[in-house]
Amino acid sequence: MSQDTTAHHDDHHDAHHPTGLARWLFSTNHKEIGTMYLVFSLAMFLVGGAMALIIRAELFAPGLQLVNPEFFNQMTTMHALVMIFGAVMPAFVGLANWMVPLMIGAPDMALPRMNNWSFWILPFAFTLLLATLFMPSGGPSSGWTLYPPLSLQGGNSLAFVILAIHLMGISSIMGAINIIATILNMRAPGMTLLRMPLFVWTWLITAFLLIAVMPVLAGAVTMLLTDRFFGTSFFNAAGGGDPVLYQHIFWFFGHPEVYILILPAFGIVSEIIPTFSRKQLFGYTSMVYATASIAFLSFIVWAHHMFTVGMPLGAMLFFMYATMVIAVPTGVKIFNWVATMWRGSMTFETPMLFALGFVVLFTIGGLSGLMLAIVPANFQYHDTYFVVAHFHYVLVTGAVFAIMAAVYYWLPKWTGHMYNEKLGKIHFWWSTIWVNVLFFPQHYLGLAGMPRRIPDYAVQFAEFNMISTIGGFMYGFGQLLFVYIIWQCVRGGEKATAQVWEGARGLEWTVPSPAPLHTFDTPPLVDDSVAVHKDTLA
């Protein structure tokens, strides 16, 4: 590896870097591409959020008030697709773009041109997806899982949605390949695998999951496409197929996908908690092994999404126990985060607050997941608001909180300015309070039997829905504060030092803030004194 990764940019001698639109369209720079990913993700977060508020507004009171049921269903479908593929995944890829090369001492991503392509497919993919909302037959309304036969009965949108998903898949696979190649090939001398920051480790494993399952999703939706347009019978019992087959293939993708949405979040939290506890991460190696076990287990639990569909008893037992086993490595992680804080000299800046919020609230989501994994209980909870509460605790207070923690944590490194700490804290408390008002009552709604994906409901569910909607609007509009804080920090503010945070360790804090366009053109020499984690084996 050694001096091999000394960079050679073909712009070294002429100082002019393209400006304006060309700079972004043609960029091969990991920092610029990372920024584009993050901005795109934020935009999609707001679009998806607007859809969520339409859903919540309709559910404010029983009866049909604001939108017709078809449109409501389009909103639930689109909200999920936009948030998962447009907001959370690109945010993590953007963070990986910015931080992985900085954390391992690489001059850039391994395949810089492909990196540009991975990003630039996304705006087109989402144009294709969102355009369906403006077509005469409307957007997809079968739910983001696109179960047949329902999804096959929709209007013209199906073909657009499927092809948009193919584009997103191409983008994610190329992005993941790039990240793996970067991590395995571009580390600075001395940056052994067991010295890598956990964010890098979790992304390495996430990238593997992405390459393994995005093609499976591509296969599943391709079968939908041919069933609808070319007369195949994959999901048609009359021809010897089976609609349940779709669910199996989809969830073989879908469950690893939820770990794709959370593993990088684990990595982020594992960076932030040690910094603000001024201690090394507790149980570094066990964190690595726990991440790898979760990734492995994620391939053998998919049918916990299908307990009510009619499976052999043996299969249900297997998937129930396998699912519960995931709680073990997850528990190891939570334990390690808590143990890291134990006797640390802790301070509570905004990133730390979000990370702590993550630990507590993600755990609630994990516990409701365990409840859902119990087959007989799942018969009751499945397709109710309890599931909605579960996955929003893991995805909003889990993945999204971690992304926000990461943004606050690294924003000074990106912009060279400190963000407004006071506003950051307000943003955290505002979000944490209202997100619980938004999602906690949904547990009760689900336990009481309110089905998900339905625009109207029985009157006994009225109070909790009203509370939830109020929480939703407060949380949602509160995020404009986040946008404002970022804007303010980009424009100016107190100068950030290179290290930014007193307890921060690792290579990314050795470069100036803002990080110059090209960093580590000559790879740094890494040993235990600069590495975040001492490699006891090296």
């Binding site: 043609f26 630039w120 090939n185 995005m214 019978s233 021809g239």
Partner: protein
């Protein structure tokens, strides 16, 4: 010759061309599927842009490679890229093989009344017998016959396996810097690939015209044509790679030590080969 540092291109114009191409291609495809009038035209335009992008992009890479801009580390990055790309392709095929196994082992027997399927069979599809091949209880697509494995498919298997040998002989020739032998074995591989594709097309015509076996022949037709069809598509892509690489071999682009482009195409070819073995066993023979 090789530069000692990692080459990071300054700007890249092809990716955005590729994205626009993909977008037009997809819009065209979706329009076409929905019987829109502009569909086929946009589809063709998109495909053309993508082709231009591929040629332009690879031309840039080849130029840089010949110019000695790539060092050992860049080479390893490319290797990672290709290996993981092939892995993603394997997983794509896995989805379709999974569908085949699920139908054969689980859902078709259930439709026939096995396991928990007794009531489904008795109430919805009385008299449906679970045998493979099947076009389902509704006998979709009408009567059909299958293609026996130990005829042309066996021949095709031998052809592909032989092509795996010839490309290896080409590799050996390359490593001994014998350009004549290299080009000879590459051409032999391409010829075998083209024979394979011709036999496969003949088989498709035969299936549609004489056997009544179509994409609409229930789950058998679906799995048969989607698996062999995607495989065939990958053989076409692989053959195009082989053709480009052979031309580059003839121009002396590769050295004994430095010939990743060749290896990437060879890996891809072996992948296509292995998928075919799976197809031969599980689709044609068993």
């Amino acid at each position: 010759m090789a530069h000692s540092s990692y080459y990071v291109p300054h700007t890249a114009k092809w990716p955005i061309v590729g994205s626009v191409g993909l977008f037009i291609f997809m819009v065209g495809a979706a329009n076409w599927l929905n019987q829109g009038p502009t569909g086929p035209w946009l589809f063709a335009l998109g495909a053309a842009i993508i082709l231009v992008m591929i040629f332009g992009w690879f031309a840039d890479v080849i130029r840089e490679s010949q110019g000695g801009l790539y060092n050992q580390a860049v080479d390893i990055s490319f290797r990672h890229g290709m290996i993981w790309f092939i892995f993603s392709e394997v997983m794509f095929f896995a989805a379709f093989f999974g569908a085949l196994f699920y139908a054969r082992v689980l859902s078709v027997p259930w439709l026939g009344g096995e396991g928990t399927g007794a009531m489904t069979n008795a109430l919805l599809y009385p008299g449906f017998e679970a045998v493979w091949p099947t076009h389902g209880p509704a006998a979709l697509g009408g009567d059909f016959q299958t293609i026996p494995g130990f005829g042309l498919p066996l021949l095709n298997t031998l052809i592909l396996l032989t092509s795996g040998v010839t490309i290896t002989l080409a590799h050996w020739a390359l490593k001994r810097a014998q350009r004549g032998a290299l080009v000879f074995w590459m051409v032999a591989t391409i010829v075998l690939a083209l024979i394979f594709l011709s036999i496969q097309s003949y088989e498709y015509v035969h299936a549609y015209r004489d056997l009544g076996l179509t994409l609409g022949s229930g789950i058998y037709g679906s799995t048969f044509f989607m698996l062999t069809g995607f495989h065939g598509l990958h053989v076409i892509i692989g053959t195009l790679m082989l053709i480009v690489i052979t031309i580059r071999c003839a121009f002396g682009h590769f050295s004994k030590k430095n010939h990743f482009g060749f290896e990437a195409a060879a890996w891809y070819w072996h992948f296509v080969d292995v998928v075919w073995l799976g197809l031969f066993i599980f689709v044609y023979v068993i």
